[in-house]
């Protein structure tokens, strides 16, 4: 589905004239110059969808109410005052009709979202006519219809209560370049109430992100309430109020799935597990051992006793208990930052290794095979962190997805092993970098992944760098993570938004803009290009109650092009 080459010149003119406030920008888009407005009685018509599922009806209802409640005005001087003439003569739309392509099965958005990552259908076509009162949105799945509705919502500006756009007729043919477009969220270093997670998921859906990768537990706290192991959270959570109960988890997953967001839970093992020691000290080596820096990447130290058969069995049962809670087809066993001295100095581990006549590497391999086995048994695709593959050479099942995190260059080595991967490199995508040191007694310390990763930096990422064409298919997409050592509900929105949207466009739009030009041309971050649209997204997000930060003084926002470096 390449861009419509014959229209490239027209589109170029179109983009410099007035950028549509779409983010991510569709793969293919052809617009005109006729103003279009929505009738006050505008309706979203599902009549052509046989027996529409409840979550599609709900999505249509949300879109309809946003068409009213979004008060987003054009980011130009006068905020649309100069459009009043255009609005007066604008073509009026009375409805948008949603339809599935012939032969498509009608399933719920949630069911479509929970399909295997490489078999989801998110494509859609949207037609905004100027010679008919009915717009058309068609797709092969309800998930595609959701994506199209999301685009439809972003088309409209408000002026004096009238919702209008200037670019009719408009045809959009769209589908993501990569199926995996994620946000990795750490709820262990500091806790986030359910409402914060739901707001974040909602905002993710506005930029068509497809996966919440939930780093739910870690060494610092164990907020996951597991019905079969209640003491883990009762003793390992920060407090009894800071727990995601089984019901919370189901509610979050349902909320996400209905918005086209799949949820991948990460149980980051065998490292990052100290919090388990509160309830099960027998399973954790070097728990809170000092100096922590010898035994862990950050305090507190502590790892599962992988050489112990009883710990292995515990891990297997616990993993299965969590896997049963999850409807999705993906699950991660993490595996990053394991520390060898922790085990080498642990008397019980030493004894277990000696008794079983195995090495730490053997034990680690056995552990990885065991937890991956549980994931596979539950019909899910296993995810694992890249150092487990690249540093420890752990044997992983063939369809494992490797999360490349340490640096972007690691993607090449992972691909060379023939493994599928998602990009999460700290040198492009870590949202937490640049806030300074959080460890105590390190006055002049910086964060390990300095500097701050700007949206421009994330946007400059090329998912195919240093890969051969044959390896391209191994790239499922990528995600930006928020590690929460220095984050909490207090700064969640400002630290995530709008930067996370940069990653969303990298992996939805891919290498080519709808005008046929490379996304990463030299003007990508110019305010007449991506920046103008990102400013629009930011203002729309603020309008919808998400505290996305200002990227520029408003003076610049209202004058695209005047605050560029060379302006």
């Amino acid at each position: 589905m390449g861009p419509a080459r014959p229209y490239a010149l027209v589109l170029l003119a179109f983009f410099t004239r007035c950028a549509l406030a779409l983010w991510p920008i569709p793969r293919s888009l052809v617009g005109g110059t006729t103003p279009v407005k929505l009738s006050p009685s505008f309706s979203i018509d599902l009549g052509d969808v046989h027996d529409p599922p409840a979550d599609l009806l709900a999505a249509a209802s949300r879109s309809r109410s946003r068409l009213d409640s979004d008060r987003f005005q054009r980011l130009v001087l006068g905020r649309g005052a100069s459009d009043t003439g255009a609005i007066a003569r604008a073509h009026t739309l009375h409805s948008v009709s949603l339809a599935l392509c012939p032969g498509s099965l009608v399933r719920s958005i949630a069911d479509e979202t929970n399909k295997p990552i490489d078999s989801k259908s998110e494509s859609y076509e949207l037609w905004i006519p100027t010679n008919d009162t009915r717009a058309m949105l068609t797709a092969n799945s309800t998930l595609g219809l959701l994506r199209g509705l999301t685009t439809f919502e972003q088309l409209w500006y408000d002026y004096g209560g009238v919702k209008y756009m200037l670019d009719g007729p408009l045809r959009i043919v769209d589908e993501p370049a990569f199926p995996y477009r994620g946000f990795s969220f750490d709820t262990s270093r500091n806790f986030y109430p359910v409402s914060d997670i739901l707001r974040t998921i909602d905002a993710m859906s506005w930029v068509k992100l497809s996966v919440l990768y939930w780093h739910i537990i870690d060494s610092q706290s164990f907020p996951l309430g597991i019905p079969a192991f209640p003491e883990l959270s009762e003793k390992g959570a920060y407090s009894l109020d800071e727990i995601y109960t089984g019901d919370d988890v189901q509610r979050i997953i349902k909320f996400a799935n209905e918005r086209g967001v799949d949820v991948v839970v990460e149980m980051d093992w065998p490292g990052h597990t100290t919090a388990i020691s509160s309830a099960y000290p027998e399973h954790i080596a070097c728990a809170s051992k000092s100096p922590w820096s010898k035994y862990a990447s950050e305090p507190p130290a502590g790892q599962l006793r992988i050489a112990s058969p009883s710990t292995l069995s515990f891990a297997q049962t616990l993993f299965a208990s969590v896997a049963q809670m999850l409807p999705g087809t993906m699950m991660s066993s993490g595996g990053d930052e394991v520390n060898l001295p922790c085990w080498e100095e642990d008397e019980q581990t030493k004894a277990d290794l000696a008794r079983r006549n195995i090495t730490i590497d053997d034990a680690l391999n056995e552990f990885v095979q065991t937890v991956q086995g549980v994931i596979v048994e539950h019909g899910k695709t296993p995810f694992i962190k890249s150092d487990m593959v690249l540093t420890h050479n752990a044997p992983v099942v063939d369809d494992t997805v490797v999360v490349v995190w340490q640096k972007s260059e690691d993607a090449t080595a992972v691909a060379q092993r023939g493994l599928r991967l998602i990009h999460q490199p700290s040198n492009y995508f870590y949202l937490d970098c640049g806030g300074g040191e959080w460890l105590g007694n390190d006055v002049l310390g910086n964060s390990w992944c300095d500097p701050f990763k700007t949206w421009q930096r994330a946007y400059s990422f090329d998912p195919y760098t240093n890969l051969t064409i044959q390896q391209f298919s191994l790239v499922l997409g990528g995600q930006m993570p928020l590690w929460s050592e220095q984050s909490s509900p207090e700064n969640l929105d400002p630290i995530v938004w709008p930067r996370l949207a940069a990653g969303a466009e990298v992996f939805w739009t891919g290498a080519t803009l709808p005008d046929g030009l490379p996304r990463l041309n030299t003007n990508a971050t110019a305010s007449t290009h991506a920046l103008a649209r990102l400013n629009e997204l930011r203002y729309r997000m603020v309008d919808r109650g998400v505290n996305a930060i200002a990227l520029q003084p408003k003076w610049c926002v209202l004058r695209p092009g005047e605050c560029d470096l060379e302006s």
């Binding site: 500091n190 806030g435 300074g436 959080w438 990763k453 400002p494 990508a524 200002a550 003076w555």
Partner: protein, 552 residues
Amino acid sequence: MKLLALAVLLATAYSPVLALWPQPQSIETGSSTLRLAPGFQITVTGHGVPGDLLAAVGRTKKALFSDKLGRLVVGRGAADAPTFAQAKSLSRLTLTLGKGASFASITSEAQKAPEDRDEAYHLVLPADGSGATITANSTLGLFRGLTTFSQLWYEHGNTVYTVNAPVTIQDAPAYPYRGFMLDTARNYFPVDDIKRTLDAMSLVKINQFHWHAVDSQSFPLVIPGFTDLSDKGAYSSEQVYTVSDVRDIVSYAGARGIDVMVEIDTPGHTAIISQAHPDFVACAEASPWATYANEPPAGQLRFVNPDVTSYIGDLFSAAVKLFPSTMFSTGGDELNTKCYDIDEPTQSALNASGSTLEQALDVFTQKTHKVLEDKGKTPVVWEEMVLVHNVTLSKETKVIVWISSENVKAVVEKGYKLIHGASDYFYLDCGGGGWVGANPSGNSWCDPFKTWQHAYSFDPVANLTAEESKLILGGQHLLWAEQSGPQNLDPVVWPRAASSAELFWSGPGGNASAALPRLHDLSYRLRQRGVNAIALQPEWCALRPGACDLTA
């Protein structure tokens, strides 16, 4: 400093759980548990107690029971509960002015010149439940004592208590100017955001709000007689500070021991004035902006034009009426001479008069400052007016160093009183990357991010003689708002701005590692009060002081 060092040592040795910020100059504590009685009262002795002190008493009484700050230890105070039954109850705090002192409002005490403010207080909290006392020689001192008192308490299971009674505190600030600067021109902040910020400032005894109200990007300040500036220069008709908004902010601040110093930055940073008065502004929105300004849009006052000079004098004169502070900042930073090189009216005026640009700047500065001085105001300027330009300033002029802390010495060598605000320590906006478009790998000019630890490590008198050190009034954190707005105001400011609050109250030399647990306490208390202070560490670390130190 020896006394201070001893006090800090005592505090850390004997009272590891006191959540005070800033650290008092001298404090003695015990180890008894003391509870606040449910009917706890605060009384002020004497007649003619000013309304703002009574209001502060009311707010404090409410906060004592609404803060609900659990001790930052594992279990959050559960281990303290067994001591509650035996603990004495405190039923009264009495505030008393020292002999010979008479009541004046907190507001009027706070609005005095920094050098004249009396913020000292003496606080006694007996362990036996007999009445606690705060004495001071001013209502402002009583108010500072109340703030300290409100930080003495934790809550567990609806019991408000301390485990460190008795407490005796003798306290006064090391520096009289402890500020916070907010730029409301690059992006607009609603009045409520400013008030919430003032509340947080007050909690850490910051006494100066430096309000960078207007700039080249927008003019949100409504000044009677000059309303065309905000009519045409504000981002929208809603994004203005009306006269009643300003009065509201000034009085809200005053009642919380905070003076409001407004800044109308001249002659640079004035492009927006061209919306209402195009004739007054040279190189307005000239391109390329980078040649004519440090950031877009370009535009500076045509100060060579006498009409412009008298207009700005009149503007200052009108603005002064809104702000009772003794100080008024006229700015003076980042003047770009290339802007005037291409400005025909400026060049022909210079040719006609035979004066240089610098001479004209001197005339402009003297005339506009005279307007302020005639009204009893002290002009405050950015460092370039002393270090770069050859202009005549009154010796009373106060100078803010912003470009680099290395410029401090040069300013005090010229004999000016100085306020620290150096970008290499105190700029809250650094480290967020470039905000200018089409600059994909651009970083913010003042990279990296300035951590609280870095600000805390600042020495206000580094390389200064004892005489020069006397010219240091204090300092402040600053938030320039190119990349900030109401959405991230709290997280970008708090708790970092508290580090300079303690630096300039308690004095330099504090140990950041020892301070961290108290800063956690402050951050958690701020959150309890609705201020979105960021997490400094995982909560695991906050509950285990020292366990997340680099070498722990």
